[in-house]
Symmetry: C2
Subunit: 200 residues, 2 copies
Amino acid sequence: MYENCKYQLFRTALEEGAPITDENWDTIKPHLKLRHFNKGEAIIEHGQVENYLSVVAKGCVRFFVHKDGNEINFEFSFEGEFSTSYASFLSRRPSFVLMEAVEDVTLISIHYDNLQTLYKDSATGEKIGRLTTEGYYIWREHREIQLLTLSAEELYIDLLNQYPEYINRIPQKYLASYLQVQPESLSRIKRRIYSNKKRK
Amino acid sequence: MYENCKYQLFRTALEEGAPITDENWDTIKPHLKLRHFNKGEAIIEHGQVENYLSVVAKGCVRFFVHKDGNEINFEFSFEGEFSTSYASFLSRRPSFVLMEAVEDVTLISIHYDNLQTLYKDSATGEKIGRLTTEGYYIWREHREIQLLTLSAEELYIDLLNQYPEYINRIPQKYLASYLQVQPESLSRIKRRIYSNKKRK
DNA sequence: CGCCGAGTTGAACTGAATCAAGAAACGTGG
DNA sequence: CCACGTTTCTTGATTCAGTTCAACTCGGCG
């Protein structure tokens, strides 16, 4: 019963693409499983193939890549959001992206093979898959345009406005590279923004 | 007969996702149409909803956004590649992205409504749609990681290696913002790379 | 032939990176 | 619950790469 409730988050996430009928849900639900990760634990390592499409039930996940010995964070996911190395999941190729639990994390996951079965068995499955991917695509395009057009400070302000409850859960050392700056610069950006707010 | 041949590029583009049967193709083909644009002409303006999913038959298209009175280019498409303001197309919302013909351009296009009909009428249609979107997604994720990890010089070298035939067709003033630098800096980057090559 | 936009080059400037040191927060074990 | 050690965050000083601005070259086109 308790787990049942948790799975709902997966349905809700899917329903951002399109409404799910109860019958659809009944065919999906048996394939879901919960996976737990401790803070700091790897969820996907470099070179692994991502086998799961997951939604975060609890916690915060960061996505990052290695570059010259440094980590560059390119995404974070929180409760109710999809959380998967999607390009690897879709292409069945080794993941270039690493995933790690920023906090203790619980994921609601469906295995790739089970998803393919759903696709094969029902046109609705295909449709849900398409709409989910479309939603994911739109998100990526949005982020890419933001990266190209906004300064680190503008990106930070955007996060403050859109996800005030999330921004404090991401350690600044991770957030910095997401905004394309060094941690020291992010520190100065925050000071600048904060002192401006006080003045007004 | 001539146009028939041109449409093939659309099929080829789709088949990067999954093979298309002749029957599938026969249901798609009647919905395709060719659209021509002169060099410099707008294909999508800011705020328009994108109604077409297109593949480039001839020419080069640039995708860009406005920022503080400047244009920032975030994508280019060439012969055989998809070319659409996809987030707008999928979401039916006004496009934030502008599209323009860099050279004289011919697009092979299918209208949104016709695509939806294909989706409704066949599970295969759904599948093709899903796989196409997946391919598009993978491309976007790849580009986003490149933006985060590579310097302008590294991005340029990457283009040189991967698309040597395309890079010269993009005016440097457009290419610069794609690499996140000013045209003057791109000029210096090219000189640096070229003089290194000579030395070796 | 002369115009115009694109590209190149140089010089000065600027904002972020780097390096280094100190302050604050965290958590681990006594 | 406190003490200590580790990590994260902040702050300052310096360096450096890219921007900006301006002048100049080049090539196409009427």
